[in-house]
């Protein structure tokens, strides 16, 4: 079992979701984050106050998958989230020791297999 954490551009989220669904990855959670990387900083001004904004809007996906799904998932994200411009984001693959489905108490593979 792995937990895949991906940071992508917000405007690419819908493409990424589509790619994931096409790859049969159906369970995931997303949240808004702000990221710093190689992106250009932008300057903003509010009355006399001028600031450099070091953080950019990104979306974070968190996807628990069983081992055979790691590669398809990563590939789906790599394919759909890329623009080629600095700021496309990162993917982290983390080891997971245990997964539970709260509804049933099922564990591990069973916990992330979609019900039909």
């Amino acid at each position: 079992m792995k937990l895949i954490v991906a940071i992508v551009r917000p405007e690419k989220l819908n493409d990424v979701l589509e790619a994931l669904f096409r790859a049969e990855v159906r369970g995931l959670s997303i949240s808004r984050v702000q990221g710093h990387g190689g992106e250009l900083e932008r300057v903003e001004t509010y009355r006399g106050t001028t600031v450099k904004m070091a953080l950019h809007e990104k979306v974070r996906l968190e996807i628990g998958v069983s081992d055979p799904f790691v590669e398809p998932t990563v590939n789906a994200i790599l394919g759909a989230a890329r623009t080629g411009e600095v700021g496309d984001g990162k993917i982290f693959v983390l080891p997971v020791e245990k997964v539970y489905r709260i509804r049933t108490g099922e564990e591990d593979e069973a916990a992330v297999t979609p019900v039909r």
């Binding site: 710093h36 106050t49 001028t50 904004m53 070091a54 953080l55």
Partner: protein, 434 residues
């Protein structure tokens, strides 16, 4: 002679109509994505500055000046830069002439601002301001002259109580053209673009309705029976439009929507605008109810078409204005202050109404197109791809609507490259600061 009751009504009406433009800013602002709300609001606020000053310098004179031999088509230049506008009672009625300028100015401003809804989230701010400055002079002023300034449409007997043609058809068509010339947003038709703040939309609609009582009621240019009729009709038509719209929504999706209600109220208000002082209250109910149908259908079609009239300016104002202009020809009643309309046996009036509407449609459509092309030849009309992705608030205004300030680093050089020494927080005088 200046009369106090009438003057008060015109003062208040003018203030109420002026408030409509910031109201529109909220209405439009709530409908766009959070990353372009400020740009969207600035398009209305900018109209208050640019439109207002242009109106003072040139627009009013072309609309309401005496055009001499050109009078059927355009006013003269005698009121350039407010010249000759004083405080004695003028042609408008027993209230100061200058107040008539102000009242009309609020109309010119909101008409320009209305157009912006078609081009939000992608049009460059500078190009937009240049466009509306020209548009107020070249498109708005002449059409206002035709209808209200003694021009050919008024001589023809076209009924337009408070600007169904001058304001709404006019702005609606210009918006349609702007949507086509500027082109759709890159995400349009690919991604769902949803309103970021619907309570803001409802607040905007509330201020629009409130201001519209001045818009229509004040257009009586008196605090009399006609004003009361216009007022009551301005109350009834949107109510009827709202009910019909909710039914149409329920028929389509099973649910009445809040954005729908806000839209319906505006459609009802638009449709009653040309008719307000010419039809009975029951006529107003009918006009509001009927006008909901084409606009509702058009909006449903538009969003699935390739036409990115983003905030449906044509569907609400253009089409609503058209419905209103024609329905005025149907419901206008002699007993209620109008020329007789179709229901009172006067088929002709409907024709006159259609002609006036068509004239505004054609002229505004063509002239708006040419003006956009002109501006577009001098400066780019559209923000570039990256700016559009980032959102126009940051790209065009260097601001975010909602920010926590996290990750923001103070620049103390004012952006001119020279770093100022880090300021030491002021010592409190007298040691209040802990």
């Amino acid at each position: 002679m200046v009369e106090s009751g009438t003057t008060t009504w015109m003062l208040v009406s003018t203030a109420m109509v002026l408030l409509m433009t910031p109201g529109l800013a909220l209405f439009y602002g709530g409908l766009v994505r959070a990353k372009s709300v400020l740009n969207t609001m600035m398009m209305s606020w900018g109209a208050l500055g640019v439109g207002g000053v242009v109106w003072a310098l040139l627009g009013y004179s072309l609309a309401f000046g005496d055009g001499g031999p050109l009078q059927p088509w355009l006013g003269g230049l005698q009121h350039l830069a407010l010249r000759g506008l004083g405080l004695e009672a003028g042609a408008g009625g027993p209230f100061p002439d200058l107040l008539f300028w102000a009242f009309q100015g609020t109309f010119a401003i909101i008409t320009a601002a209305l157009i912006s809804g078609a081009a939000v989230e992608r049009m460059r701010f500078g190009a937009y301001l240049a466009f509306i400055a020209l548009w107020t002079v070249v498109v708005y002023a002449p059409i206002a002259h035709w209808v209200w300034g003694g021009g050919w449409l008024s001589r023809l007997g076209a009924l337009d109580f408070a600007g169904g043609t001058v304001v709404h058809i006019n702005a609606g068509v210009a918006a349609l053209v702007a949507a086509l010339v500027v082109g759709p947003r890159r995400d349009y038709g690919r991604q769902a673009i949803l309103p970021h703040n619907v309570p803001l939309v409802l607040l905007g609609a509330a201020l629009l309705w409130f201001g519209w009582f001045g818009f229509n009621g004040g257009s009586a240019l008196a605090a009399d029976e006609g004003a009361a009729l216009a007022f009551v009709n301005t109350m009834l038509a949107p109510m009827a439009a709202m009910l019909v719209w909710m039914l149409l929504d329920v028929r389509r999706t099973g649910k009445a929507t809040a954005v729908g209600v806000a839209t319906a109220v505006v459609v009802g208000l638009v449709a009653i605008t040309p008719a307000a002082g010419f039809v009975s209250p029951l006529g107003a109910l009918a006009i509001g109810a009927v006008a909901a149908l084409p606009s509702h259908a058009f909006l449903a079609w538009r969003a699935r078409s390739a036409l990115d009239d983003s905030l449906d300016v044509f569907g609400t104002h253009g089409l609503g204005g058209l419905s209103g202009a024609l329905l005025t020809g149907v419901f206008a009643s002699e007993a209620w202050g109008g020329t007789p309309g179709l229901l009172e046996g006067n088929v002709l009036q409907l024709g006159v109404q259609a002609l006036a509407a068509l004239a505004a449609l054609a002229y505004s459509g063509l002239a708006s197109f040419l003006l956009l092309k002109l501006v577009g030849a001098l400066v780019p009309l559209r923000a570039d791809t990256q700016a559009e992705g980032l959102g126009l608030d940051v790209a065009e205004h260097g601001e975010e609507a909602y920010t926590t300030g996290e990750g923001a680093v103070l620049l103390l050089d004012g952006g001119d490259g020279k770093m100022a020494p880090e300021p030491k927080p002021a010592r409190a005088v007298g040691g209040e600061a802990a």
